[in-house]
């Protein structure tokens, strides 16, 4: 083989390897995040209202048994299977989380304490499977998951010190009465809890990860795999954008 031919073969081989590397990065790694839609919340009156729900199952074709969060589109009111949302910077964020999943004991009961919300509390209202409220709304600074099994998951944004135990439906009332088809609604036949709280979004724009702190990856060793390690399920990102 002549020297020019060998040089050309070397260049072609090099370009093939580089191209393969770029393909792997763009197709596999890049697509892992870009496939998830981002729900954009805009401020009204200096506040934004974020709505999430956590379900014991989901409507995906590949992992229907994974526990997951859903995010509500503020315009269409549709529940989207994503955990990516954006809020304006330095704005009061009012969060409502509908808990359709049953309780799971916290590994570290320290997370029973509400931290980082305005007032240091959350307000919880539990409903039975017929969408009837169980008692009145309760404002709590601690939801002790070991005392009465009323915590299903947590919503935590560690970078801003926000740690919130997310209430589950009443343990006794929800036995065999959990929502069985996602995304769930108050009238879909499952007991649930509605929890509300507020916090101030950071003044600095950027991406802030959020996660559940209860190892709830059922079927995975110590509950730490699967949905606990995957964007779009029990972990997500909050983009803080210029207000």
């Amino acid at each position: 083989m002549s020297v020019p031919a060998r040089a050309a073969a070397l260049v072609v081989a090099f370009l093939c390897v580089v191209g393969l590397g770029i393909f792997v990065v763009v197709y596999y790694i890049g697509s892992a995040t870009t496939q998830l839609p981002i729900v954009h919340y805009t401020a009204s009156g200096g506040q934004v209202n974020v709505a999430l729900q956590e379900d014991p199952q989901n409507d995906s074709a590949t992992r229907p048994d994974w526990v997951t969060y859903y995010t509500q589109d503020p315009t269409t009111k549709q529940w989207l299977h994503t955990t990516l949302f954006s809020v304006p910077a330095n704005t009061k964020v009012n969060v409502t989380i509908y808990g359709y999943d049953g309780c799971t004991p916290l590994r570290n009961n320290y997370w029973s304490q509400v931290q980082g919300t305005l007032g240091g509390t959350v307000t919880v209202q539990q409903y039975n499977k017929d969408n009837k409220p169980l008692g009145g709304p309760a404002t709590e600074s601690v939801i002790n998951s070991w005392a009465d099994c009323n915590v299903a998951h947590t919503f935590a944004i560690p970078a801003i010190g926000l740690f919130v135990p997310v209430a589950s439906p009443n343990a006794n009332n929800s036995v065999n009465n959990l929502c069985g088809s996602s995304p769930c609604t108050p009238t879909s036949g499952g007991a649930y809890a509605a929890e509300t709280f507020s916090f101030m979004s950071p003044s600095h724009t950027g991406t802030y990860r959020w996660q559940c702190l209860i190892p709830c990856g059922g079927g995975f060793v110590d509950g730490n795999g699967g949905p606990m390690q995957t964007l779009g399920w029990m972990m997500g990102e909050m983009d803080v954008v210029s207000s």
Binding site: P56, Q57, D65, W66, V67, D101, G102, C103, T104, P105, R107, N108, N109, Y110, S112, Q113, Q115, S141, V142, N144, W146, A147, C149, A152, A156, P158, A159, G161, F163, A171, S174, V175, L178, R209, Q211, L213, P215, C216, G218, G219, F220, V221, D222, G223, N224, G225, G226, M228, Q229, T230, L231, M235
Partner: protein, 328 residues
């Protein structure tokens, strides 16, 4: 390396070779001395991790000493090759062989003695520094082999030499800190009093993490069901970066926060305040009794009926069996 008189060729007057060995030694000595002085007086004060604690100072000293040990070696190697390339290179048109290599007992003896001395020095110095000073990574643990810097007690008060106990709990992907001498309260904040011996008890609730308090020079693995003990004494006020240094999942890189070294009175005030708040909120009563480590598969306080399957957890107030809802 000794000077030799070589015949440049028939009919050509003999040319006296320079004394390459002494020339190399002189250059090496000057460069090494300069490098060592720069390392000690310029680089050493700025070496990581700083001098915020006795552990950090010890590591800084170790790095400086090893740099001074290694610099002459590096300079010697680079100098010799550079010298050979420049001085002993083949000139244009010179196709002759080089001079025959012959043994030189002095060079061989010097080589063996110097390299052996260097390696033995590194061995002795490294061993002593690992074992003797607190915080350098050896001799620590629940039964340290040297005398502790302070006394151990179930309470801590400012102005005494009592060691402060801090339990470091790793969890995907946050750190929490527990203070058993203050009612066992837990916090996401790491506060430490200055000039106080600190006894870290590092453990994990799930996978393997590593507690790395950078400016304090403290690194300790956080393993589930293991109590890993490390000691340090903060010497300066300031902020401490705490990172996880063991790949522990998708957000390992985000598992960090900042600790604070404050005055003893400020620490007492902070700790008492947090303890009182958690007492009033009912959180202290909700926390489990202080233990040196935790089994991630067992929560005894909930009763054995809630813990059914080792290693696999689930929702609805109990633990899933391995096949429910999905077998990995």
């Amino acid at each position: 390396m000794s000077s030799e008189t070589l015949a440049a060729g028939a009919g050509t007057p003999a040319r006296r070779e320079p004394r390459h060995g002494w020339r190399l030694f002189a250059i090496w000595f000057v460069l090494s001395l300069a490098a060592c002085l720069v390392i000690w007086f310029v680089w050493y004060p700025h070496l990581p991790p700083g001098r915020m604690s006795d552990s950090a100072s010890g590591q800084q000293f170790d790095i400086a000493v090893l740099a001074i040990t290694g610099a002459p070696v590096l300079i010697g190697v680079v100098l010799y090759f550079s010298y050979a390339i420049v001085v002993w290179r083949a000139r244009p048109g010179d196709d002759s062989d080089g001079p025959a290599i012959q043994g030189n007992i002095r060079v061989q003896a010097a080589w063996i003695i110097l390299t052996a001395a260097t390696v033995l020095w590194a061995f002795v110095f490294g061993t002593v520094e690992l074992v003797v000073p607190a915080g350098a990574g050896g001799g620590e643990g629940p039964s340290p082999i040297w005398k502790l810097a302070g006394t151990q007690s179930s309470t801590w008060t400012p102005g005494t030499n009592t060691m402060l106990q801090v339990q470091v709990i790793g969890q995907q992907w946050v750190w929490t800190y527990r203070y058993p001498q203050f009612g066992g309260f837990e916090s996401t904040q790491l506060y430490l009093p200055v000039d106080t011996p600190v006894e870290f008890h590092v453990t994990s609730l799930d996978v393997i993490h590593e507690f790395w308090a950078y400016q304090l020079g403290v690194k300790a693995d956080a393993n589930p069901q293991v109590d890993n003990v490390a000691y340090t004494t903060p010497k300066q006020l300031g902020s401490v970066t705490v990172r996880c240094n063991e790949l522990c999942g998708i957000w390992h890189g985000a598992m960090y926060n900042f600790g604070h070294v404050v005055s003893q009175s400020a620490f007492q005030s902070w700790a008492s305040g947090v303890q009182a708040k958690e007492q009033a909120d009912g959180l202290l009563a909700a926390l489990p009794p202080y233990a040196l480590h935790y089994d991630p598969t067992v929560i005894p306080q909930l009763g054995s009926n809630l813990v059914k399957v080792v290693g696999v957890t689930g929702a609805a107030g109990y633990y899933y069996n391995p096949g429910n809802p999905v077998t990995p």
